[in-house]
Symmetry: C2
Subunit: 199 residues, 2 copies
Amino acid sequence: MQKKGLLHQVIQHLCCLPGVGPKTAQRMAFQLLQRNRDNAKALAEILLKALAEIGHCQQCRTLTEHTLCEICVDASRDTTTLCIVESPADVWTVDQATVFTGRYFVLHGHLSPLDGIGPDELGLDELERLLAKGEVKELILATNSTLEGDATAYFIGELATKHKVQASRLASGVPMGGELEFIDRGTLSHAFKGRRKIE
Amino acid sequence: MQKKGLLHQVIQHLCCLPGVGPKTAQRMAFQLLQRNRDNAKALAEILLKALAEIGHCQQCRTLTEHTLCEICVDASRDTTTLCIVESPADVWTVDQATVFTGRYFVLHGHLSPLDGIGPDELGLDELERLLAKGEVKELILATNSTLEGDATAYFIGELATKHKVQASRLASGVPMGGELEFIDRGTLSHAFKGRRKIE
C-alpha cells in the first residue's frame, strides 16, 4: 500500500475540506489524479493564486482580491443602510436571498471574550468611524441567531444608539414551511413573544 | 457580488470534485480562504506535486510515484496469484477488505468497444506477457459486477485458459446484512443460481 506516498498525502490534505472524510477524500484523490488531471491542475493553481491575492475589502472587510469589494465599489447601492454579518459567506447568502440593496460590514466572527475576541478583533473600531461619518442611517444586525450572535448584535446596537443610528435585528420565529410540531421550544417561544397583529 | 472574481473561480473548480455541488463548493472555498489558509496552500502544492510525479506502476499499472508500486516491490507478497481490478481505487479497497496477499493488475477501465476501449487500452497485451512467463498460477477476476465488468472478466478468463492459468471470479449474491425484501431481482436470481450446499 502507498500509505506514506504522495497519494496518501493528497488524501490527507483533502480531508481538511468541510464535510470530507477519509472515504470521500480517497474518491476525490483518485478522480483528480486519474480522470480529471487538467481540472486538478487548474484547481491547485487557482487556489494558490487566490491565497496569494485575496484579502479583505478595506471598507466592509469581506473577501476580495481588490482594495474594495464589488459591492462597496458599486455606486448603485444604497450607502445609508449597512447590514452587519458574521462572515463573508453570509454576505453572499443575504445578497442572494433578499432584495437588500445596501452595503455590508463583515465582523469575521462574534464577540467571544473567552477566546480573546473583543470589539477590536471584529473591526468595531472601523465600524464606529464609519458611523461617525454620519452617512449610514440604519444598521441591520444580521448576525447568527445564537447566544453569541445575539450578544454581538446587542453590543453593536448600543454603538448605533450612541451615534444616533437606527438599528434593527432580523426577525426570529417559525421558518417558512415549518410545522409547529417539529419546531424547538426556544424558537416557538420567540415566535409567540414576537407575534404580529394581522392588519 | 464577486461572481467573476477569483473567489468564484475557486468555487467553480471545486465543483469538479465528485459529490461537490455549488453550495458545498462555496462552503469549501470560504473555509479554505479564511480559516484554513495553511492547509489550503499545502493542499494545492501537494496536488501539483502529485500531478507531476504520480504515474503508473510499470508492472501492475496502479498509481504510484515510483517505477514500481509498493505492492509490486514487496517481496513478502505472493507472486503466483494476480487479482485483476478495474481501477487503482479497487486495489486499495480489496487490500483493505480482504486477506489477499498476492499482487494486482489494474485495467483502468473495462472493455467497451463503442468507446474505443479494446484489449490493448486495458493493458491486456502486458497481462499476456506476464502470464506467458509462467510465474502466475491463478487469476482472481475482481472487475465490477456489471455487464461490462462481467464481459471483461470473461475475456480475460479466455486468456487465462489459453495460458493454462486458473481463473476465478468473485462470488456474487446477497450482500452481508442484506434483507431479501430490499434486494434487486438480478442479484437474487444470481444468488439462487449460485446457491451452495451446507456441509
